[in-house]
């Protein structure tokens, strides 16, 4: 497969690993902010390829994981409304929430359908004019333009029964929130590849400028990630932090203007509630007033009981990079993919699930 296979080459990977090992003299800590990176780093065994001086932590990059319990409770409550069809990306279904889950609601008769694309959700709305279709809009800047496009398409085709529950979040503000908290000292950030295809490199400039932290945007194949780490190590060793693109085939200096234009047309920026972090200002997307008839928050009202976090779950700590999954007492014992306690074990992009699935023989699954 073009643009995939060449970036998985064994010999080239070893070359990069060697270079990183040669360069790296001080112990440094890097963090990725993208669930796809979390998954790829574990799947390809990147930690085993880089020297011990390079410590890697996962940050808040999994859209399912960072969705607050209260917001998931709302989605579940909406599912129980009459004549509602909930459409969602797959992983959300199994996340345990305060009192239930979408999967449980489905077993109890709620109409909940997994879709691959917002296009499918709009199609379902078109095919079911007597029902209200609500799309659970999670994701970051990669997904937000697709949701914006779907609202515009619904408007254009006069599909009035399509709604979005906007839980979309933005990446640079949460990076800032984590850097401000100082909970984990970071030397470098592995920048999210496909978020950056949309937003370009400029929104990350505050990272080296205000915090002295290096930032290199990475692709998703193992060679891409190793190249990114090499550039981060170089910047940090030289003491010259800046924003660099290590994924130039995907990320352009201007990003994707059209995508941002559509996002800006449909959404405005507001605060968002991040699991494990709390309210982060200016970090969420809300549907603009002009399109409020497509906004599930405006079209429906549900009453909610106070949210409850699962007991003993350290998902919040894992999301902030403050704990590695095996450090959670529940990991691999009480909390497994078959019986997950929190979202980090449910979603393919959650750190716990990735650790569990791709663990090394020495340190996997809590053994």
């Amino acid at each position: 497969m073009k643009f995939i296979d060449e970036y998985q080459d064994n010999k080239l990977a070893r070359g990069l690993a060697y270079k990183i090992a040669q360069r790296s003299t001080k112990t440094i800590r890097l963090m990725e902010f993208c669930g796809g990176h979390t998954h790829a780093i574990l799947r390809y065994g990147i930690r085993q390829l880089v020297p011990k001086t390079v410590e890697m932590r996962s940050g808040p990059g999994c859209p399912v994981c960072v969705t607050a319990t209260a917001d998931l409770d709302k989605a579940i409550a909406l599912a129980y409304l009459p004549d509602v069809i909930i459409t969602t990306f797959g992983d959300m279904i199994r996340v345990p929430s305060s009192y239930s889950s979408l999967q449980q609601a489905k077993a109890e008769g709620a109409d909940i359908r997994i879709v691959y694309s917002t296009i499918d959700a709009v199609e379902i709305a078109k095919a079911n004019p007597g029902k209200s279709v609500i799309f659970i809009g999670i994701g970051f800047e990669t997904t937000a333009p697709t949701i914006a496009a779907s609202i515009l398409k619904a408007q254009q085709d006069k599909i009035e029964n399509f709604h979005v529950l906007s839980l979309n979040k933005l990446t640079p503000p949460v990076m800032k929130a984590l850097l401000d908290s100082g909970e984990i000292k970071l030397d470098g950030i592995i920048g999210p590849g496909h978020v950056s295809v949309i937003i370009g490199p400029h929104p990350y400039e505050f990272i080296p400028r205000d915090y002295g932290v290096a930032c290199v945007i990475s692709g998703f194949e193992p060679l891409d990630i190793l190249l990114c780490i090499d550039k981060l190590v170089e910047q940090i060793e030289k003491g010259e932090p800046k924003v660099e693109i290590a994924y130039p085939r995907g990320v352009k200096p201007e990003g994707n203007r059209k995508a941002r234009q559509l996002m800006g047309k449909v959404f405005e920026i507001g605060e968002a509630n991040w699991r494990g972090i709390g309210i982060v200002p200016q970090s969420g997307l809300k549907v603009r007033g002009k399109y409020e008839r497509f906004d599930a928050d405006k079209a429906f009202s549900v009453s909610l009981k106070p949210p409850r976090e699962p007991e003993g779950c350290r998902c919040g700590d894992v999301i902030r990079g403050a704990a590695m999954p095996p450090e959670c007492k529940l990991f691999g014992k009480v909390c497994t993919p078959e019986s997950p306690v929190g979202p980090c074990m449910v979603s393919s992009e959650g750190a716990c699930a990735a650790y569990y699935q791709y663990g090394t023989p020495e340190n996997s699954q809590g053994f």
């Binding site: 497969m1 995939i4 064994n10 070893r14 390829l49 393919s348 663990g359 090394t360 023989p361 699954q365």
Partner: protein, 334 residues
């Protein structure tokens, strides 16, 4: 007869008899079945193997086969994986009211063809009809009887350290053929399910070696789940090399698009064999002479380390645990 199945076809009366006589018997005819007694009588002595299976695959027609072919091959393969020679099958069908008779006939023809290839007879059958909406088109349940020759001991518990792990061919074909129908992927080169009866392949393997320890077909849950089952049953560790596992390019690409890992995708015409290392090469050579084993290869070996766990050396070098599939990868895949 009318165009589609009516409730009356399941009532046991005239229409039921007509259904059996016009839609099943002409294709599956054999002395035992033709008698139409309440049960089929046959003689067999020695160690017998019995298996049962249900088939709820959706869609019922897919590239490379249909629910009928799947039912025969799946049952034949279950018997084969214990070293049994499959002899007789029973087949019961639960049909949704309104199901097209022409499609039913197509499926029965398919069953006939598969049974002929596998050299098995369908000697007992049953049909029931349920109201529209109470079954999704057609469900088939089978049972199968086979006979095991003296001295043959093939079981998931027999793997020993040092054994080689053989795989009969490319993985993921069946699951992707099914998913492609459901997800609107199209293939410029037809990708078909690998659905096939493996009893002849296995009997050829058993002719060249009496040291086949385990056989299993990686159906639901894929290769990864099967390897884990063997590791757990035999209380051994299994190591495999990712680079040695054959996957068709189109299957790889479809997996990328659907977000699947080929090692978890169902297969319906492949087998894993765990064999004594001294016989591995000659078993492999024999497999490659059979059209269902053309791409057979050694993918790994059995070890005393990490018992119960499967470890895969990835393409880039680092090793990782390969767990069993948990949760629902692809519903109604077989």
């Amino acid at each position: 007869m009318d165009d589609s199945i009516l409730l009356a076809h399941g009532s046991g009366g005239k229409l039921s008899h007509e259904l059996v006589e016009k839609k099943f018997l002409p294709f599956l005819a054999n002395p035992a079945l033709n008698k139409l007694d309440d049960s089929a009588i046959f003689e067999a002595s020695g160690r017998l193997a019995l298996t049962t299976d249900s088939y709820v695959v959706n869609p019922i027609f897919f590239p490379g086969g249909d629910i009928g072919k799947l039912a025969v091959c799946g049952t034949v393969n279950d018997l084969t994986m214990n070293g049994a020679r499959p002899l007789y099958l029973s087949l019961s069908a639960i049909i949704e009211e309104g199901f097209l008779l022409s499609e039913l006939e197509q499926i029965v023809r398919s069953i006939k063809k598969a049974a002929e290839e596998a050299e098995v007879s369908i000697i007992a059958g049953d049909t029931k009809v349920v109201n529209k909406g109470q079954a999704d088109k057609l469900f088939i349940t089978t049972s199968g009887v086979g006979i095991i020759s003296p001295g043959v001991d093939i079981s998931g518990a027999n793997a020993r350290a040092g054994d080689k792990v053989l795989l009969s061919g490319t993985i993921g074909d069946h699951g992707i053929a099914i998913m492609s129908q459901r997800e609107g992927l199209r293939f410029s080169m037809a990708l078909e399910s690998d659905c096939a009866p493996l009893n002849k392949l296995v009997s050829q393997m058993m002719e060249v070696s009496s040291r086949i320890h385990c056989l299993r077909d990686p159906t639901r849950g894929g290769l990864a789940t099967t390897l884990n089952e063997l590791a757990w049953q035999s209380k051994v560790g299994i190591t495999v090399e990712e680079a040695k596992i054959p996957v068709k390019d189109e299957v790889k690409a479809a997996c990328e698009l659907l977000g699947l890992d080929p090692i978890y995708v169902a297969n319906e015409g492949k087998l894993v064999a765990v064999v004594d290392p001294a016989d591995a090469d000659k078993i492999l050579a024999r497999m490659r002479k059979n059209s269902y084993g053309r791409h057979a290869t050694i993918i790994g070996e059995v070890t005393n380390e990490h018992p119960g766990k499967v470890v895969m050396k990835t393409k880039l070098g680092p090793s990782r645990i390969v767990d069993m599939l948990s949760g629902e990868l692809l519903p109604r895949i077989c």
